[in-house]
């Protein structure tokens, strides 16, 4: 299968008070055609910064290094004008907060038609018709009336459906969904996930799904990268990550969540300590201070991603091949 997106050693640096901090360091992954790729991690691990860097929505103050290959082009090298033709057209985005990502002073219809008129050069009438069709597809009742309403008149779930309609209306190759259901209730979350699943398979769209919810990952993704403190610590198929996790952080995360299908009540096993702040990043492995298996080497040397299976890598010294104790 061909890759829709190829990210090669992406790093993002922010300059705060004259000091440079890496919010994202050496992140590499690829997304195959038609698959859903998950990026999981806790708040502050750099998953959103990664997604914003891909589509170049970070402020100019952020220094982005690396390569992002998309259909033969390097997105990081495109001019602003060329980038605008990709964004919202071939690569589109959905964000977490559906209230703040819609424009409060434009009607829903205008916001969906906008990208059609801009990218597909449709007439106002055709764009309106297609936008209406799209609203119907995302399961909005009374689409004719909703076209004429403003975002504040809609509920959270409906706003997120409108966001999805805007993102999908130009039939993109890649959809980047940054915590699309975090602000929603579970019953609404189930509706939205179901909708994303149907649309992406109908349109053959690849999805980069960013979330902190392992349940959502298990349900939606084909392959997953786990991020911690700005780095990918483990990458593999969903089955690898959930049934054969290798990195101590991945294992820790899985043990820390209460399971709704648990039969007996077991005490949770938390990961002790807190996520290190960017300014006080540990020297060696970034997870070492919280890791139960940390060795001397972990405190001084940063591990690379080692192969631990087919398309399954882990950033842990214990997984270094020749030591055979992985």
């Amino acid at each position: 299968m061909s890759n829709v997106l190829d990210v090669e050693s992406l790093s993002v640096e922010f300059c705060v008070n004259g000091n440079d901090f890496y919010a994202v360091r050496d992140v590499s992954f690829h997304i195959k055609a038609g698959e859903t790729f998950g990026l999981v991690g806790e708040s502050g691990c750099g998953k959103s910064v990664t997604s914003l860097a891909l589509v170049r929505l970070l402020s100019k103050l952020a220094k982005v290094h690396g390569n992002v290959h998309y259909s033969g082009r390097n997105l990081l090298k495109l001019s602003d004008r060329e980038m605008r033709q990709v964004r919202g057209n071939e690569v589109s985005m959905i964000f977490q907060e559906p209230m703040t990502s819609l424009n409060p002073v434009y009607k829903i219809g205008a916001q969906i038609s906008e990208s059609l008129r801009l990218h597909k050069k449709l007439s106002a009438r055709d764009a309106f018709q297609q936008a209406l069709e799209m609203l119907r597809k995302v399961g909005i009742a009374r689409p004719n009336e909703i076209m004429d309403e403003y975002p504040h008149q809609l509920s959270g779930g409906m706003r997120q459906r409108v966001m999805i309609a805007i993102a999908m209306v130009c039939n993109p190759n890649l959809l980047i969904a940054d915590e699309p259901t975090t602000a929603l209730d579970v019953t609404i979350q189930a509706q939205i996930l179901e909708l994303m699943r149907t649309l992406s398979s109908d349109y053959g769209t690849s999805v980069l799904l960013i979330t902190h919810d392992l349940g959502v990952v298990a349900e939606m993704c084909d392959r997953v990268a786990v991020m911690y403190a700005g780095e990918i610590v483990e990458q593999g198929s969903v089955d690898d990550i959930f049934f054969a996790p290798n990195h101590p952080y991945t294992k820790g995360l899985l043990n820390a969540i209460p399971k709704i299908d648990a039969v007996t009540k077991e005490r949770l096993q938390p990961i002790e300590g807190n996520v290190p702040s960017l300014s006080r990043m540990p020297k060696g492995c970034r997870f070492a201070p919280r890791c139960a298996n940390a060795m001397e080497q972990c405190k001084t040397e940063s591990p690379e991603l080692f192969d631990v299976g087919e398309e399954h890598t882990s950033r842990c010294w214990l997984s270094k091949p020749k030591e055979a104790n992985a």
Partner: protein, 331 residues
């Protein structure tokens, strides 16, 4: 029943809706509409429901942080809604609350020591030296270093702030703690630390918890009994095991089936509810759930289902709720 710590009877909170220049009342939001519940000493009762279902309003009405419109709340047999302000203040020593947002619920201009010693000063407990001792020991108990007492809230992470919030509730030695989404704002790795701490404290001090949350996995883990609320009303109440293994109310079933399970091989029959939560200002007629219920019949549109015991200690408000009936079988 023996050892009932808190008894709630037909608790209601209606917020008036005002309109026009004269602010005439022309309706009300029925945030909490008839909750009756008994809580035993030492148990954890979980309260779940979607946002806007009235679970937080209920928690606050019990402590009279929001004055309820109607009903009886008895704490150790005493109706606290009849108490005057001074009596209520004394009563609050026994009942405390922990809020969701650890950023907004601590005074940014108070050091941790000031935050924690304020309740002791308000209730005129102990002399200054003993207060100091109490603050240090409670900090230690929630897993924070006593030297942190001189710091300000902004110097702490979310998990640490929530520990401070718990310490503040605990310092008066209460019997009942209402936990309003105490872990919702925390990351998963820190969330489990706080849950374990709450469990340890409960054992140590024989605390009674009302645990309000929207995360069903967390509620299942921590609760003995669980109450499911929908649009200000009680939908179902049962022991945690029963509610999660044999739910009888269609709303509970839909809610449970909507939770994503962190297991890629889990296959379930999903009941996806259509539509959104109706507005509590104009609740639907009959059963409030009928607009979204997959099983709704004519009777649901006209008659309010009564609250009945479907199986032993298993209550639900649904015309069709039967224990393990075929219609409801869930995979």
């Amino acid at each position: 029943m023996s050892d009932v710590l808190l008894e709630i009877n037909n608790l209601k909170k209606h917020f008036p809706l005002r309109k026009g220049f004269l602010h005439t009342v022309n309706g009300s939001v029925r945030a909490v509409d008839g909750i009756s519940l008994q809580i035993q000493t030492g148990e954890t009762i979980g309260v779940v429901g979607e946002s806007g279902c009235g679970k937080s309003t209920m928690g606050r009405s019990i402590l009279r942080l929001i004055e309820p419109t109607h009903g009886v709340v008895k704490f150790e047999g005493k109706n606290i809604l009849a108490l005057n302000k001074a009596q209520m203040r004394t009563m609050r020593r026994e009942m405390q609350i922990v809020f969701q947002d650890p950023y907004a619920s601590l005074n940014p201009r108070y050091t941790i020591f000031q935050t924690l010693s304020e309740p002791l000063e308000v209730h005129q407990l102990y002399d200054p030296a003993t207060r100091r001792q109490r603050v240090y020991s409670i900090l230690q108990r929630v897993g924070l270093d006593p030297s942190y007492a001189s710091r300000y809230p902004h110097e702490f992470s979310g998990g640490q702030r929530q520990r401070i919030g718990i310490a503040r509730a605990l310092i008066l030695n209460p019997k009942l703690i209402i936990l309003d989404e105490p872990v919702a704002a925390l990351d998963v790795s820190v969330q489990s630390q706080v849950i374990n701490l709450l469990e340890d404290l409960q054992k140590e001090f024989n605390l009674t918890y009302m645990f309000i949350a929207h995360d069903l996995s967390v509620v299942k883990h921590i609760s003995n009994r669980v109450l499911v609320m929908y649009l200000g009303r009680m939908a179902e109440l049962a022991s945690s095991d029963k509610l999660f293994s044999q739910p009888v109310h269609p709303y509970t079933r839909a809610l449970l089936s909507a939770v994503p399970i962190p297991n890629p091989r889990a296959r379930r029959v999903r009941t996806i509810l259509q539509g959104d939560l109706p507005s509590p200002a104009h609740p639907p007629s009959g059963c409030v759930f009928h607009t979204r219920c997959p099983l709704a019949q004519d009777v649901c549109r006209h008659d309010v289902p009564e609250w009945r015991e479907v199986a032993e200690d298993h209550f639900a408000a649904c015309h069709f709720a039967e224990p393990s009936s075929e219609v409801f079988q869930q995979a």
